[in-house]
Symmetry: C2
DNA sequence: GTTCCGCATGAATCGATAG
DNA sequence: ACTATCGATTCATGCGGAA
């Protein structure tokens, strides 16, 4: 960790260390977006020092307070998380966390979903395979940065047909509408082969043939990075893992800052990001 | 409402009245499955007497206590619900309700999702269209009835490719085999091509062109009815609305009980169910 | 009898305006 | 300052009429 708290020291770096300590060294109001997938409760205890579900909220809250401090007022915080099933029930630490984060001052703006196209197989007597995770969206204030056009998607089939066969009367009608001042955005209609997405991301999980267990597809942080930042903005992941968030940010021309406590993952993350640089040049 | 509390009085009927009062007249441990979509907070205030978001939990809890009383020990309770956006934030009444239901003794077994294929349009500066709702699954005890085979689905790409590559003669042969009742082999193949679903239901909302506004596609209760009951079991919907749950139950050979307070919806629900009867005969 | 196209219609939400 | 109402925005779906 650098001892200076100048902003330039906190850009395009991967820091090894405890994220709470590292965050405390950072200047306030300097991050545009936080995207992270924290260690899951009790899972992979051997590899990551799992947190017991009953202790999860109290473990996370001090970190969240620091995240709130370093985030810009118009910034966003996206938390990818899913509660485990414990003793046949869904544990409540995630929803308790939402309530506590609100007490901390966070606004719970939205709950996006990651609907996994392919999820781990398995069979249990009391439940099916879990194919979704929460992407909780928090803010410091009601007015925050959002660039919706950056994530538009092609429209449904019907639109293609419509646009192909756009009749003369249709065109005339649209024009006259605009002329009379009612249809304020003709361009919207004419250029309309793209639509805004919904709050569900339907992405596949990353394939397993990489030499790390990144259960977080690059498309996930990439989507939120496009949606909530512009090129040159700073993206923070306090639980970097194998580096996915930083790679996504760099590929999109954003600055990144990753924090990772485990030596092994820290090395891996550095390698992933460097690899991208070299392949770029 | 009947004054008797004999079980036969509470099967294959639609009751008009306040659901809390009606439930209190019911015998305990008599229902196999409760599937319902209660009036959403503050919505349809004009037509349904909307409940204020801040009062939602306290309004729902006494009803939930009665539901728990009438549910069989091995029964399930599926609650389709989604929180509103209030003042730019997602309201917390749904997650507070989960915590309170647990205090009441319910087990929060799972959270299924309804991922809507088509969701309401709209554009806002701070969020996208909401295309999902929660289907919270609660139980009285850890061991409950679940018939997973009843909701198996055709397998994914692997099966599709196989079917694509089948020659026409193969298809005909397979079809005729199946149709003629031969072929344990065929059924084996079919079973191999079937997989257990996940905890996400990807269904379209019912379209508006019907003469009632059932914003609850019949496939949704039907799926849970198949999953958690057997023919002859009793399915309860304490907020019946236009009757969708009862129609789904009856079509699947289950007994039903619907409770609806609004005269208009009560009439509509009765009509819907009768219509199904007559078209059956 | 098909296929195609036009159209109305939402379990929505926000911001502005009015009381 | 707080609540109530209204207009604007937006797109997948299925019906009905047309080709």
């Amino acid at each position: 960790m650098p001892s200076e708290t100048q902003e330039s020291e906190w850009r395009n770096r991967i820091v090894q260390g405890d994220c709470l300590s590292a965050l405390k060294g950072m200047p306030p109001n300097s991050v545009d977006l936080i995207v992270t997938s924290p260690p899951y409760a009790d899972s992979r205890k051997s590899t990551y020092g799992g947190i017991h579900p009953d202790k999860y909220v109290e473990w996370f809250l001090p970190i969240a307070a620091e995240l709130r401090r370093v985030l810009k007022p118009e910034g966003s915080f996206v938390l990818n998380i899913k509660e485990k099933a414990v003793n046949g029930e869904r544990h409540t630490y995630v929803i308790e966390l939402i309530l506590e984060l609100k007490k901390q001052g966070w606004l719970w703006t939205e709950e996006y979903l990651w609907h996994k196209k392919n999820c781990a197989p398995g069979k249990w007597p009391n439940r099916f395979r879990d194919s979704w995770e929460r992407c909780l969206h928090f803010n410091k204030q009601k007015a925050f940065a959002m660039y919706q056009e950056a994530v538009m998607v092609p429209m449904g089939d019907w639109a293609k047909k419509r646009l192909q066969n756009l009749s003369e009367t249709d065109k005339i009608r649209d024009t006259s509408k605009a002329g009379s001042g009612f249809g304020k955005n003709v361009s919207n209609w004419l250029e309309r082969d793209m639509a805004y997405p919904t709050n569900v991301l339907h992405l596949a999980t990353e394939c397993a043939n990489k030499n790390h267990s990144a259960a977080y597809p690059e498309d996930l942080p990439a989507w939120f990075i496009k949606l909530f930042t512009q090129p040159g903005d700073l993206v923070l992941d306090p639980f970097l893992g194998s580096g996915t968030t930083c790679v996504a940010a760099k590929k999109l021309g954003r600055d990144y800052l990753g924090i990772e406590i485990k030596e092994e993952y820290f090395q891996l993350a550095q390698a992933q990001v460097s690899q991208h640089f070299s392949s770029q040049k």
